[in-house]
């Protein structure tokens, strides 16, 4: 995976498999401390201690179709190679929180990529789940909840190409205004 947005997409897919009804993505850009924090939290079924202990092992997965699960270990590797850190907390029945901290200007940090695209693709694909995006940077903050968008759209289907492109544009315009560089 060449962009952080794709890692976020992958982690969110885990949350979907975990039966979450609310998935929150928080991106914090802290220029002063040279940090980029990405947090994905969900209210899914969570993991027990044993699963949690094995989750960063690429040869561990709960999936039954094949024996490896690379997603989380790939993100951990990306965070650590920028001098950052990776933590994952989870509680059965409550949900999971994934935190990845990156050196913002580290040469090994992957670009953010198409954050707008992955959030909108998720939100339009899984209509029962509320996807929340929070971006915080020195220029200000941005918040979007797919549940709010759905309420505004009323019966206009969110997964039609027109709406998908429009929502992507909404997020992108706001990210540009917050002067978020890739």
């Amino acid at each position: 995976m060449k962009e952080l947005s794709l890692h976020i997409l992958d982690i969110m897919e885990n949350s979907v498999s975990g039966g979450a009804s609310r998935i929150e993505v928080n991106i914090t850009i802290n220029e002063a401390d040279d940090l980029l924090a990405i947090q994905v939290t969900d209210n899914g079924r969570g993991m027990d201690i044993e699963t949690l202990a094995n989750v960063t092992d690429p040869f561990f997965t709960t999936r039954t179709t094949r024996k490896i699960g690379m997603g989380i270990s790939l993100l951990k590797q990306q965070a650590e190679q920028t001098g950052g850190e990776f933590t994952i907390k989870s509680e059965l029945g409550k949900g999971t929180e994934v935190d990845a901290l990156f050196g913002l200007n580290n040469i090994d940090r992957q670009p953010l990529g198409d954050i707008a695209g992955v959030i909108v693709n998720m939100a339009t694909s899984y209509s029962a789940i509320d996807f929340v995006l929070n971006i915080s940077a020195s220029e200000g903050t941005f918040h979007l909840s797919s549940k709010e968008v759905r309420e505004i759209l009323d019966e206009v289907p969110m997964n039609s190409p027109e709406v998908i492109l429009m929502l992507k544009e909404l997020i992108q315009t706001n990210m540009t205004d917050l002067k978020i560089v890739n």
């Binding site: 995976m1 794709l6 997409l9 992958d10 897919e13 979907v16 498999s17 999936r63 179709t65 094949r66 699960g69 690379m70 997603g71 790939l74 198409d114 695209g117 992955v118 693709n121 998720m122 339009t124 694909s125 979007l144 709010e148 968008v149 505004i152 759209l153 009323d154 019966e155 206009v156 289907p157 997964n159 039609s160 190409p161 027109e162 709406v163 998908i164 492109l165 429009m166 929502l167 544009e169 909404l170 315009t173 706001n174 205004d177």
Partner: protein, 136 residues
């Protein structure tokens, strides 16, 4: 189209959108539109499934094809990612493997527009085999 930046802008555009969609009558009848599902597992993402999905979204709009594009979890065809399942109205779903932008273009022109099957179909035999085994 006007630039939208806030949810209020979206609210203003809603009525325009609604009238456009009513003409096309796709909202309440998902079975009447082409449905495309892109597998978005780790191996799919790594193979470019997101690019494939974005391509479908923008091209279907450009070519004015009535369709709904969504992503889904692992379809367990790791060897053939990105995989895409296309359901034409009234037909059985067909899964295609190794769908990059070039293949997606071919799928839109041949299969979605004209119903002509193209190379790269992933047969669903294994499901039938499983069902047969269960019967035995």
């Amino acid at each position: 189209m006007t630039k939208i930046k806030t949810l209020d802008d979206l609210r203003k555009l809603r009525d325009t959108l609604r009238s456009e969609m009513n003409i096309r009558e796709n909202s309440e009848h998902p079975d009447r539109v082409v449905q495309i599902r892109v597998a978005m597992s780790t191996c799919g993402i790594t193979s470019g499934a997101k690019e494939t999905m974005d391509f479908f979204v923008s091209e279907l709009k450009k070519r004015q094809i009535n369709a709904v594009v969504t992503q889904t979890g692992c379809m367990s065809y790791c060897y053939a990612e990105p995989t895409v399942e296309i359901t034409l109205p009234g037909k059985h779903p067909v899964v295609f493997g190794n769908v990059d932008n070039k293949k997606a273009d071919e799928l839109i022109e041949s299969y979605i527009k004209n119903g002509e099957l193209v190379d790269g179909i992933i047969p669903i035999n294994h499901i039938e085999v499983e069902q047969n085994n269960r019967r035995i």
